[in-house]
């Protein structure tokens, strides 16, 4: 029987949750192989130090230790350095990044030697007795000082720490920055943050020495990219290297990377002939896993006296950290296309300088570039509103770009797929009772209450769905941005999808099943979704940049269309009618005018499998494969409103309300989209109020555990009030846009704007991020002229 029910657009429960929520998932650390050894990395306690001598002899003598090696001793293992695949300018200065450093330790946590042992405890014990002699060097910690001539150098051979400068080149009329009636100059800083997935990283490498074959189970977002790049680092031929991403417990960009420990597990498996496991501790995660943000922006805003925006000119300093990881130099540039926000401006300028420092490397963290940009734009819009004496809602209202349903060129040079900013904005204000809170704010100011309230707005546009391959090529990225899907209709009526995206919490199993179910007339429970294993899903570009549904989903739709085309041919053959006489309706092929003549896709799949009676030249088995290269990014947008209460005596902030109205095009599964917004907003609130990586003046990590690095919990979150508008994307057949990062992009300025708004009548114009009680308290005190 054909399934006539439609599933796309329904909040179908997540298929993957049954195992994940009952402890039956399989993560890297759940995996055990016979004879498995454990890797421990000896890490530098110093931010910057020359390695004088590494003595592993004591470790080698410990019972249970199988081997211990310095970076120098492992030098022969590498066919190349760790990958950096985005050399964004021709004159970018790069140096080789080896899995274990040989000459200098360049940040606290840099690996200087390794130990493998029969147990994790023995490996840790042995790592403690590796004797490393260091000559301490002055660390580079400050972005502005580090960029200057004469600064100590992170990489001596590069001659500078300012290793990359990228300029967008400008769009529109640069004259607005000199001629506009209102010109503001502002500076914003965003500290470093760390992604904190619940499951830290981990890797397990196995080897079949006789065959030279390797398998690496790794907690990664990118099995496909890891395969080709780790082949380059280790010299293991690509066809002899299988990468498996089992259940992955969150990533947030942390696992959009290829790390030293993955290469080490492979190389040491090759060296010992045994399986090698490495599991990251939380404190190691905070010390060495790629961090995000760490930027300083100098902003010029041009506007009319009424507060209509005319342009943003932005110069950014970005902290690259000690080494380039996979995408490091390209991350600021990902924000470089949205420094106009959803506004209709006349002049655009963006450039950044990347500076190496003696801190952990930076790379993509949820939002990657766009949170940085949106923070600057939305904080600046509020500053403009204060400057011209207008309600920040009104300044936005008169500045929004007009709506469009088809792709339209933007001032910044790319095309925006579709847009309709005002309805989402007005809906957000309505849902938040904006006018009522303005009145209450006035009343509290009037009566001078200790607790003042503020309203924070954030209207954003972001660039998701990475990415059209031709644009990536033009931007000097080393790979494409296409995606792949394979569909096989099984003889028993079940359907197997092998997809190229690699989820780590997103719910792909559910949504891909919904799409296939609707197209094929089957139930989602009859669809199996396979991914995250280069042997099972050999094609694909993995999951990051809110790309999976708009590119991977599109590839699936094309593959399903191929299946249906082939099924139609077979149905026509079996029903002895012309293909044109068939319509696919209510989940089956039906002969027009003869409704009793029906063939379902499961029936046709069985016929295609037995292959007893196929049309001439028809290939047996109902299977199809497709790839999809998008013509454009997708451009989600929306408006978030935060109502905050600030205790003016202590500086404490309490969030009273949080409203988000997002537009991610057509929605496949509302519950999953809501979940992404919840998680994204929580991530953004964390960035606005709590999370900050701190190093001391010697380059020691101060926030090295979950005690000091404040990841908030549900208790700290307000209830999220969500709504949506739907502006379909013309870029893909589903009409979808990404939603995985929108909350993270929108929330920080909404929250900080609310705090500043709460105390602006006291003279406060800015509060640093995260807006800790002390920072808020200091801002109030300074505005009042130093006396509390």
């Amino acid at each position: 029987m054909a399934i006539t029910e439609k599933f796309v657009g329904q909040s179908v429960l997540r298929k993957e949750d049954a195992s994940l929520l009952t402890g039956q998932g399989s993560f890297v650390d759940n995996l055990t192989l016979p004879g498995m050894l454990y890797l421990a990395v000896v890490r530098s306690p110093f931010a910057h130090a020359r390695i004088v001598k590494v003595d592993v002899s004591k470790a080698r003598e410990m019972p249970g230790v199988v081997g211990a090696w310095s970076g120098e001793e492992l030098a022969g293992e590498w066919a190349g350095p760790l990958p950096m695949v985005w050399p964004i300018t021709e004159d970018i200065k790069t140096s080789d990044h080896w899995p274990i450093t040989r000459d200098k330790a360049r940040f606290q946590g840099d690996g200087v030697a390794v130990v493998v042992a029969e147990s994790r405890g023995i490996a840790d014990d042995a790592a403690e007795v590796v004797a490393v002699e260091y000559e301490q060097l002055t660390p580079v910690l400050d972005l502005e000082e580090g960029a200057k001539d004469g600064s100590p150098l992170v990489h001596d051979e590069l001659g500078t720490n300012a290793v990359v400068h990228w300029s967008h080149g400008g769009g529109g009329d640069q004259g607005v920055f000199d001629n506009a009636p209102v010109q503001l100059r502002l500076r914003y800083e965003a500290p470093r943050i760390t992604p904190s997935p619940i499951e830290p990283r981990g890797a397990l490498a196995s080897v079949v020495p006789a065959m030279g074959e390797f398998t690496l189970w790794t907690s990664t977002q990118i099995p496909h990219i890891a395969r080709v790049t780790l082949s380059g680092t280790t010299g293991i031929p690509e066809h002899k290297l299988r990468i498996v991403a089992p259940d992955v417990g969150g990533a947030f960009g942390a696992k959009l990377n290829v790390y030293a420990e993955e290469a080490l597990c492979l190389a040491l498996a090759r060296r010992t002939g045994r399986a090698i496991k490495w599991i990251e501790d939380r404190s190691v995660s905070y010390a060495v896993t790629a961090q995000g943000r760490g930027v300083i922006h100098d902003v010029e805003v041009a506007a009319t006296e009424e507060g209509k925006l005319l342009g943003f000119r932005v110069k950014e300093l970005a902290d690259m950290g000690a080494y380039f990881q996979l995408l490091t130099p390209g991350i600021p540039e990902l924000g470089g296309w949205v420094y106009m926000g959803p506004y209709d401006t006349q002049g655009y300028w963006y450039e950044f300088t990347g500076v190496m420092t003696n801190k952990a490397p930076t790379d993509a963290v949820r939002g990657a570039g766009r949170p940085e940009a949106t923070y600057v734009v939305e904080r600046a819009v509020d500053a403009l509103a204060r400057h011209v004496g207008k309600d920040p809602a009104e300044v936005r209202r008169i500045s929004f770009a007009p709506s469009h349903a088809e792709a339209k060129p933007s001032l910044m040079g790319l095309q925006i797929d579709s847009a309709d900013y005002l309805p989402a904005f007005e809906r957000a204000l309505e849902l938040a009772d904006y006018d009522q809170y303005r009145k209450e704010q006035g009343a509290r100011r009037e009566s001078g209450e200790v607790k003042q309230i503020g309203i924070g707005l954030s209207s954003y546009i972001e660039m998701s769905g990475l990415a059209p391959s031709n644009i990536l090529g033009a931007l000097r990225y080393a790979a494409g941005g296409w995606e792949a899907a394979q569909v096989r209709c099984q003889p028993s009526g079940k359907v197997t999808l092998n997809i190229g995206t690699s989820p780590h919490g997103q719910g792909h199993d559910t949504v891909w099943s919904q799409i296939a179910a609707d197209e094929l007339g089957v139930h989602p429970d009859d669809v199996e979704v396979l991914h995250g294993d280069t042997s099972i899903s050999p094609l694909g570009m993995d999951t990051y940049g809110s790309r999976s549904i708009s590119i991977g989903g599109a590839a699936l739709v094309v593959a399903l269309q191929k299946i249906k085309d082939r099924a139609r041919t077979l149905a026509a053959h079996e029903l002895e009618v012309a293909e044109d006489d068939l319509e696919f309706r209510d989940g089956a092929f039906r002969v027009q005018g003869a409704p009793e003549k029906v063939r379902t896709i499961p029936e046709l799949a069985a016929s295609a499998w037995t292959a007893h009676d196929l049309p001439d030249g028809y290939e047996p088995d109902l299977t199809a494969i497709a790839t999809w290269d998008p013509k454009n990014f997708t451009w989600p947008f929306g408006t978030h409103v935060c109502i905050a209460e600030v205790d003016t005596e202590t500086g404490a902030t309490h969030l009273l309300r949080y409203v988000a109205v997002d537009d991610c095009g057509v929605v496949m599964n509302p519950a999953i989209v809501d979940g992404q917004v919840h998680g994204g907003v929580a991530f953004g609130i964390a960035e606005a109020l709590y999370e900050e990586i701190l190093y001391d003046e010697a380059g020691n990590l101060v926030t090295g555990t979950l005690t000091q690095y404040l990841v908030p919990s549900a208790v700290e979150m307000p209830a999220f009030e969500l709504d949506r508008t739907v502006t379909p994307s013309p870029t893909n057949p589903l009409g979808v846009k990404g939603i995985g990062e929108a909350g993270t992009i929108a929330a920080p300025p909404a929250v900080v704007n609310a705090i500043v708004d709460a105390v602006s009548h006291l003279g406060v114009t800015d509060v640093g991020k995260p807006a800790t009680p002390e920072r808020v308290w200091n801002a109030i005190r300074e505005a009042r002229g130093g006396g509390a």
Partner: protein, 275 residues
């Protein structure tokens, strides 16, 4: 993540625990483990021997005893927080216990473990100092009682010899006295940036003690003097930072804490007076 190697012994009685501790200066008692085990996993604590007393069920109790309520050292924070005896006779203790950590911590961590750890950022020591509670300590030589004000000698430094066990905490009944414990923290599960325990004047003098304002929980003697002299909370609280030496750390500066404490003391006194 993996602690350095250590020996492990489970004690079936307090006496057995004392015996196990004797002659092992690097031994540590294991109760709820919520202070000790994280330090061991970071290899910041490296005890040679863990003496596990967590299953001594006769050390888990809350009972009225004359003018005091006696709390067995192995009583879980959760049980302290939900004790009807304490809620009636000494509510500041049950309230403060409910402010410790998060539910998981409160179900495993013990009042004795928290007190013996002597972390100046912990809530319960401050409350005990404000109350003038008594600690009952047993060692090879017998039992001694120590006033809370003397028990906390410094940072992580309780008045406990390496072979002594804290067995009981005795808190005075406070029925009729207004009270307040204000904990200022960034996240619900965090230690206090600053905490204030206040017990209003009522026959016995007013008392105010501070969390995380020195290397141990301290009385705000300046504030107490002002209150005894008839000052109102706003005036008295101006002396809240007197004599304090709070830390500057990842969460806040010492200077901010010294300003914050004045606000919190005023609010705590106002709340205590209104209760």
């Amino acid at each position: 993540m993996i602690p350095a190697p250590f020996e492990y012994k489970r004690a079936d009685s307090v006496d057995e625990a004392i015996q196990a501790l004797s002659g092992e200066p690097d031994a540590k008692l294991l109760a709820g483990g919520h202070s000790l085990v994280p330090l061991m996993k970071l290899r910041l604590a490296r005890p040679s021997l863990l003496v596990d007393i967590s299953r001594l069920s006769d050390q888990k109790y809350i009972k009225e005893d004359g003018d005091a309520v006696a709390i067995g050292a192995l009583t879980r924070h959760h049980d302290v927080a939900n004790s009807e005896v304490l809620q009636e006779l000494c509510p500041i203790v049950s309230y403060a216990a409910g402010e410790i950590g998060d539910p998981q911590v409160r179900h495993v961590g013990t009042i004795g473990g928290s007190v013996a750890h002597a972390d100046p950022a912990s809530d319960m020591p401050t409350v005990l100092v404000a109350l003038g509670a008594e600690m009952v300590v047993r060692g090879p030589g017998g039992v001694r009682n120590v006033a809370a004000g003397e028990f906390f000698k410094g940072l992580f430094e309780p008045d406990l010899a390496t072979d002594e066990v804290l067995t009981e905490i005795r808190v005075p009944k406070t029925a009729g006295r207004g009270w307040s414990y204000l904990k200022f923290h960034r996240r619900a599960q965090d230690w206090a940036l600053v905490g204030v325990a206040a017990l209003a004047q009522n026959g016995s003098g007013p008392s105010v003690a501070l969390t995380n304002m020195a290397d141990r929980p301290v009385r705000a003697t300046g504030v107490e003097e002002e209150l005894a002299g008839g000052a109102d909370p706003a005036a008295a609280s101006q002396r809240a930072a007197e004599g304090t030496s709070p830390p500057t750390d990842a969460f806040a500066s010492a200077g901010y804490r010294q300003e914050l404490v004045k606000v919190l003391v005023r609010r705590a006194l106002e709340e205590a007076q209104s209760r």
